[in-house]
Each structure stands twice: as structure tokens, then as C-alpha cells.
């Protein structure tokens, strides 16, 4: 098992040279559509009297663009892409990979060092121009736009005598009725178990938990608890120190 954080330096040791190529967005989109083994095209390197000329040719089947709307059939991705070669300069660019297939351990490996930088440019052609035009049109559309309506919208809110939600609420309230005072011991039990879970409680929450009338509940609380007026836990009730036993998770009575 590899040590987490340990970097595999085989690529660096071998001084594997790689190329860093900047590729246009549409081209990378096309490449993503590649099938099978992933072959996307051919790279042609010509040594022309000392100067190297590199050019990439996109495979035929990948030139169809699923662009927006109507013009998909008309415009195709250009096929020829000469590379503009650049030097790395003084900068040291290394390539490292993160292997996250093992969910727990990320294996980090140094794949190599960049020896050449290049830019993949499409060969300028009519086709390309059309594609670009399409792209620009697409981008220039605002995300939101205003549209005038013919008729006023009347379907959303209609006036009602009383909202359905309100009716339900009132019904529920009627059902529940006023809270009845339960046995003091029972209430105490409920309180203690509640305070076991949390130290500070709002009076409203306690009422909710115990379903007791507020006044009665306050009486009981005054016996066993204290009310925090200041500090971080403002306006909260907590058990008196003698009743607390938070470390051991016990309660004393």
C-alpha cells in the first residue's frame, strides 16, 4: 500500500518528455466524442530544413458538430490544425497525476516534464469562419431577455376567503387543544432526557418537546434549571449544576 502523499517519481527520473498543447474548445469537445480506442486524428511532424512543422488532422467522423440549432449540418469542424510550437522557457513544468480510483488513497505520480509547448490552431478556412460566426452568435445572446405578454397572467393567484393552509392550521390547533398539565414527575423525566441531548434549550423548544403549558413548565424549570440571560447562550434554559452530569452522560435528580 503506497504511503498517502508519497509521490511516484518514475516519470521524473526517466525525464519523460511531454508536450503541453493548448487546444480550442470545440476541438476538445470533438475529441470527447471519440469512439473505440479513442483515436481522434493524426499528427504529422515535418522536419523542414531544421524547422519542425507539426500539424494535426482531425478524423473525418469527428468533424460533425452538434451545435446549436439549425445550422448543424452546414458547419463542420475544420480538420487541419497546424501547431504553433513554443519553448518552455526557463519555467519548469512538470506533469503529475492524481489517481483517485482508490477512494481512500490518492496516488500521486510524476509523469514527466514538459519539453515543448504548442498551440493547436485551426487552419483558417471558410468553414472555420462559419463555425466561429455561429459561436459568436450563440454567445452574444443574453441569458435573460424580456418578453412582452399579450394577456395578463391570471392563473397563479386567485383571491380566496381563507387559504387552504390556514384552514388546515386552525383545524390542527383545534384538535390539539390546550396543553394539559401532565404529572410533574413525567415532565421532569421528559426534561431530563431532553437536557441529556443538549445543554441549552429555548423555552419555546421545551414547550414543544414537553407539550406543557408555558407557565407550568416554567415553574418546573425554575426548580431544576437556570435561565441564562447573558453570554453566548442567551435566553436559554439549562439544568442546574447539581443536576448536570454531562461527562458521564448521567443525570441526577
Amino acid at each position: 500500500m503506497s504511503d498517502k502523499g508519497e509521490v511516484d517519481l518514475t516519470g521524473a527520473k526517466q525525464n519523460t518528455g511531454v508536450w503541453l498543447v493548448k487546444v480550442p474548445k470545440y476541438l476538445s469537445q470533438q475529441w470527447a466524442k471519440a469512439t473505440g480506442r479513442g483515436e481522434v486524428g493524426k499528427l504529422r511532424i515535418c522536419k523542414n530544413q531544421g524547422k519542425a512543422e507539426v500539424s494535426f488532422t482531425l478524423n473525418e467522423e469527428l468533424t460533425t458538430l452538434d451545435t446549436i440549432g439549425q445550422k448543424s449540418s452546414m458547419v463542420r469542424a475544420p480538420r487541419e490544425h497546424p501547431f504553433t510550437l513554443q519553448t518552455v522557457g526557463g519555467q519548469t513544468l512538470a506533469v503529475f497525476t492524481e489517481n483517485s480510483s482508490d477512494s481512500s488513497l490518492d496516488k500521486i505520480a510524476l509523469e514527466g516534464v514538459v519539453v515543448q509547448r504548442a498551440e493547436c490552431r485551426p487552419a483558417v478556412s471558410e468553414n472555420y469562419m462559419r463555425l466561429k460566426k455561429l459561436q459568436i452568435e450563440e454567445l452574444s445572446k443574453p441569458l435573460r431577455f424580456s418578453q412582452q405578454l399579450d394577456k395578463a397572467v391570471t392563473t397563479n393567484y386567485k383571491p380566496v376567503a381563507n387559504h387552504a393552509y390556514n384552514l388546515d392550521y386552525e383545524k390542527k390547533k383545534k384538535e390539539e387543544g390546550k396543553r394539559a398539565r401532565a404529572d410533574k414527575q413525567q415532565v421532569l423525566d421528559m426534561l431530563f432526557s431532553a437536557f441529556e441531548k443538549h445543554q441549552y434549550y429555548n423555552i419555546k423548544d421545551l414547550v414543544d418537546i414537553t407539550k406543557q403549558p408555558v407557565i407550568y413548565l416554567k415553574e418546573i424549570l425554575r426548580d431544576i434549571g437556570i435561565y441564562n440571560v447573558k453570554g453566548t447562550h442567551k435566553n436559554t434554559w439549562e439544568l442546574k449544576p447539581e443536576y448536570r452530569h454531562y461527562q458521564n452522560e448521567e443525570k441526577s435528580d
Binding site: G5, W19, K25, C46, T57, S100, Q199, Q247, E249
Partner: protein
């Protein structure tokens, strides 16, 4: 299809873009100047830097059981929504990398994610496979790696201070040395003695440590060697600082910490400070924390009034102080007094050139310590004076007893100054009018005449005093509550006691020596108190 030109050799390679890799390719970019060569790496470790997690994670309150509140989380969330506070999520993906190369002794790098890499164009890594075909992998993220300094660096405040002293500081090595010593000092307040001893040595050599400039205050400082060391350094530092800041006592803080001030200080030329006004007050009051700045505050008050006078007297006292300390360096090495430090400092000053002081004088804040300037002059003539030190000691009436008894340094200093002033009416910096010096002479002399304490009683009683600076009074104050020297000085204002500030300082120092109160550090200030 393009046809290759006939005169060139062309080779075609298949380009593949593998689809199923779980490996994410990233770029690790280093700066050209860092000279990073991956082939030299024998071993490397890289992890995400999670130090930002707590910022994003918000303060976590205990969940459940003690300390927690019912429904706290929901309430917090509702509150945040109500106020529209949007907190950015902590994404592990975006966190920086920490790269450690070649183990502990190797280099460290921090890799910050570069944004916007994949927005408009994609980067691909083309690697050549065994079969000659190229495989292209998309670059997931780009990280810029920068080397991290392993050496200690200054904090922002310290850096600003050093920047202000850049023209004066010549010995750059001691900047960090002092900072380290300062840190040590803070960390080991208990072991001051031992450390200070060591520090002193160091300071001698490298002028490190927090030396504080003390003039008469040194006498009042009854803390451990630490203060001594600090004092010595501070003095020089103070002078430097004085140059920089104005004659305001605010310069103290800086001075306290500026061991590096020494550098500039030492380089000052003697005559550079001629004619410069001295702010006696600010000078003295350099150290706020430990050193009792009793004399300083009171003097500071008087600054507007008799600044010239004070500066004059200060000069004298400074000179005297210096000289004396020079002579007493050995004796007082382990003393709790600051004089040794001052002596040390002087020594240093003597040894090193003082070229920078000329710069100092040019620098703004000329009204700054004539004190320092005066101090400097003495060292210059240190050679002369040093030799006269012994003779000085002998010729001083009553001072030997004081010295050996290690009574108030102020007394000694005052006495010294007197001697110096008397002896070197011609030699000393011309900036000191003889009149001023003479003026100071009588008082220190009278005080020095008394080998034992209670100079107050010996001296002329204050004419119209509401408050008498007596041992009893001080005792009362100290019993009631702990006070700093500053506080005590405030109680015995010169207007009310009728004593001059210097006298007050002297007397108070004496009294404190006699009382030998307990010391306590409250809010980084040294307080004295008595328990009856």
C-alpha cells in the same frame, strides 16, 4: 488532405485520446528563477494544505450534550439566509498543495491552483507511447509551485521597522539573530539569568537581544539581567530610534526591540550630532514594559519646557553613564542593573565604526535624542575615557562606595557625569554648553556625596512641596497595590515635590533599592509591590 513538401521528412503519428482514465493530469509549474530540476529529486511527498478548512468550516460548537443548544444549527442557517451571508464552500479540490522534496532537509513548495485554465481552451498533455502513437490527456488543473522559505522571516511589523532603519543598519546578519533572541527571551522568562548571560555574550559579539536603552532608568530597573542586556542594547537602539522618531516617548517601544538599532548606532560619527536637539525624555522612556520608566515619563512631561536644559543635562548624564559603565562592565556583569548593558553597548560602539551616525543625523527626527548623540560621543572618546575610568572611579568622591555597594546606578551615573563633565569640559561634544553641564553638576554631586541613600533627606528639602518623595510614601503606595515605575513617578510629580526630574529618578531609584519590593509582571509591565 495536406501534402507534405518534398524536401522534408514527414512522419505521421496517430493521436489517441484515451477515454477511461481515472487519472487526472495536472500541471506543476515552477518559476524559472527557482532552478528546479525534477531529476534531482530522490523522494517527494505531496499533500493538500488543509489549513483553510477552519475558515470555511465556521466555528464548530459542540454538537449534542454539553455546550450545545437545541436547534442551534437550524437557527444559524436561518440567520445566515436572512442576512444573505453566503459562505464559500471548502472545496478540497481547490486547496493548495504542499510539496516536500528530499525529506526534511530538502525543499518545500506550495502549489496554488491557477484559476481560469480550463475556461476558454483546454490544455492537453501529449505523450508518446511505445507504439509511436501520441496519447493526449486533458489537463485538469494547473498549480503554480513556489518554494517556501525555510529560514526565519520577519513578521510584517518587524519588517516595517527594519525598513525604517534600512539606511542605518549595516550588519544585516544581526537582524535575524536579534529576532531569534527576542523570541527566546519571550519564551523563557523564567530563565532570564542564564540566558541573559549568554545573550550578553552574544550581544557583545553580534549585538543581538533586546537591549533597551536606559539612561538613569537603568538604575531603577531592578529586574534581572534580561533588562540589563536589553538595556544596553536598547540604549543604542534608542539612540537610533530617536533619530528616527521624534523626541516623543513613543519611540520607546521600538527602541526596546531594536537590537539592530545598534548597528546604525555604532556607526554614527561623533560630530554628527552636534547641534542636534536632544529629547532627554523620550530617550529615557524607551522601554515601556520592563524598564521602569519613571524618570522618563516625568521627564517627558517636562519636554516642552526645558528641553535644551534637559538635553544638556542628559548629555552629561549620558556621557557619565557611559563612561562609568565602561569601567564597571565587569563588575556589573551579573548585576540586575542596566549599566553593564550600557557599558557593553558602549564597548560595541567603540569597536565598530560609527559611520552610520552621520546618516542618522541626516535622517528626519533630528530633534531626537541628543541623548543618544551624547551617548555616542562618549564612546568615541571611549578610548580616552576608558583609561580614565579607573582614575575616574578613584577620583570620584564617595562614589566608590556607591559602586561597590551597587547602589542606585543613577547616583553613580550622575556622579560619573559630574566627573566627566568636569574633566572634559573641553573634550565633550561641543554641543553641550558648559553651563548646562555645570548646572547638573551640583545636584548629582550633592547626591553622590552621600554614599548611602536618602538623598532626599540629604538634599535640599523641596521648597513648596505637597508631596515628599520619601521611602515611607513609596512604601505606602506599594503596599496598597502593585505599581509600575511610571506610576510611582506620576505620584511624585516634580512640581509637587520640588525635585527635578533627574533628582526624582535618582531618589526613587534609591528608595526602591532599599525597599527591594516584589516584582510582578502584569500586562507585560513590571509592577512592584510590597506585602506587609
Amino acid at each position: 488532405m495536406q501534402i507534405g513538401s518534398s524536401s522534408s521528412s514527414a512522419t505521421e503519428y496517430v493521436v489517441r485520446v484515451p477515454k477511461n482514465t481515472s487519472k487526472k493530469y495536472n500541471i506543476m509549474a515552477f518559476n524559472a528563477g527557482d532552478k528546479v530540476s525534477c531529476s534531482t529529486w530522490t523522494q517527494a511527498r505531496m499533500e493538500r494544505d488543509m489549513s483553510n478548512r477552519r475558515i470555511y468550516g465556521e466555528e464548530e460548537t459542540p454538537d449534542g450534550a454539553a455546550g450545545s443548544e437545541f436547534g442551534k444549527k437550524q437557527r444559524e442557517e436561518a440567520r445566515r439566509k436572512k442576512y444573505g451571508i453566503v459562505t464559500k464552500e471548502f472545496k478540497v479540490e481547490d486547496q493548495p498543495w504542499i510539496l516536500k522534496v528530499n525529506g526534511k532537509a530538502g525543499r518545500r513548495f506550495k502549489g496554488l491552483k491557477k484559476g481560469g485554465v480550463t475556461e476558454n481552451a483546454s490544455y492537453y498533455i501529449f505523450t508518446q507511447c511505445a507504439d509511436g502513437a501520441f496519447e493526449a490527456f486533458p489537463v485538469h488543473s494547473w498549480y503554480n509551485f513556489t518554494p517556501q522559505a525555510k529560514h526565519r522571516t520577519l513578521t510584517a511589523e518587524e519588517a516595517e521597522e527594519e525598513w525604517g532603519r534600512r539606511n542605518k543598519v549595516v550588519n544585516h546578519f544581526s537582524i535575524m539573530l536579534q529576532r531569534r533572541l527576542r523570541q527566546q527571551e519571550q519564551g523563557e522568562e523564567e530563565e532570564e539569568e542564564g540566558e541573559k548571560g549568554g545573550k550578553k555574550k552574544k550581544k557583545k559579539g553580534g549585538r543581538g537581544g533586546d537591549l533597551r536603552i536606559h539612561d538613569l532608568e537603568d538604575d531603577l530597573e531592578m529586574s534581572s539581567d534580561e533588562s540589563d542586556g536589553s538595556n544596553g542594547d536598547d540604549d543604542e537602539a534608542k539612540s537610533k530610534a530617536k533619530q528616527d522618531k521624534g523626541p516623543k516617548g513613543k519611540g520607546k517601544k521600538k527602541k526596546k526591540k531594536k537590537g539592530s538599532d545598534l548597528e546604525g548606532f555604532e556607526d554614527s560619527d561623533d560630530g554628527d550630532f552636534e547641534g542636534l536637539e536632544v529629547d532627554y525624555m523620550s530617550d529615557e522612556s524607551s522601554s515601556e514594559e520592563e524598564e521602569p520608566e519613571k524618570p522618563k515619563p516625568s521627564k517627558g512631561e517636562d519636554v516642552p519646557k526645558g528641553i535644551d536644559e534637559m538635553s544638556e543635562s542628559e548629555e552629561e548624564s549620558e556621557e557619565e553613564n557611559k563612561n562609568e559603565e565602561d569601567g564597571k562592565e565587569e563588575e556589573e556583569e551579573e548585576d540586575g542593573k542596566k549599566t553593564p548593558v550600557q557599558v557593553e553597548k558602549k564597548k560595541k560602539k567603540d569597536s565598530s565604526g560609527e559611520s552610520d551616525s552621520s546618516e542618522d543625523s541626516d535622517i528626519e527626527g533630528e530633534a531626537a535624542s541628543a541623548l543618544f548623540m551624547k551617548k555616542r560621543t562618549p564612546p568615541k572618546r571611549g578610548g580616552v575615557r576608558g583609561s580614565a575610568g579607573s582614575s575616574r572611579t578613584g577620583s570620584r568622591p564617595g562614589t566608590p562606595s556607591i559602586d561597590s555597594a551597587a547602589t542606585s546606578n543613577t547616583l553613580r551615573a550622575a556622579a560619573n557625569k559630574l566627573e566627566q563633565g568636569k574633566r572634559q569640559t573641553t573634550v565633550p561634544s561641543s554641543e553641550t554648553p558648559a553651563t548646562k553641564r555645570l548646572k547638573m553638576e551640583p545636584s548629582p554631586q550633592s547626591s553622590s556625596g552621600k554614599s548611602t541613600p536618602q538623598p532626599v533627606s540629604g538634599k535640599s528639602t523641596p521648597s513648596s512641596s505637597d508631596v515628599l518623595l520619601t521611602e515611607d510614601a513609596v512604601r505606602r503606595y506599594l503596599i496598597r497595590k502593585p505599581m509600575t515605575t511610571k506610576d510611582l513617578l506620576k505620584k511624585f510629580q516634580t512640581k509637587r515635590t520640588g525635585l527635578s526630574s533627574e533628582q526624582t529618578v535618582n531618589v526613587l531609584a534609591q528608595i526602591l533599592k532599599r525597599l527591594n519590593p516584589e516584582r510582578k509582571n502584569i500586562n507585560d509591565k513590571m509592577h512592584f509591590y510590597l506585602t506587609e
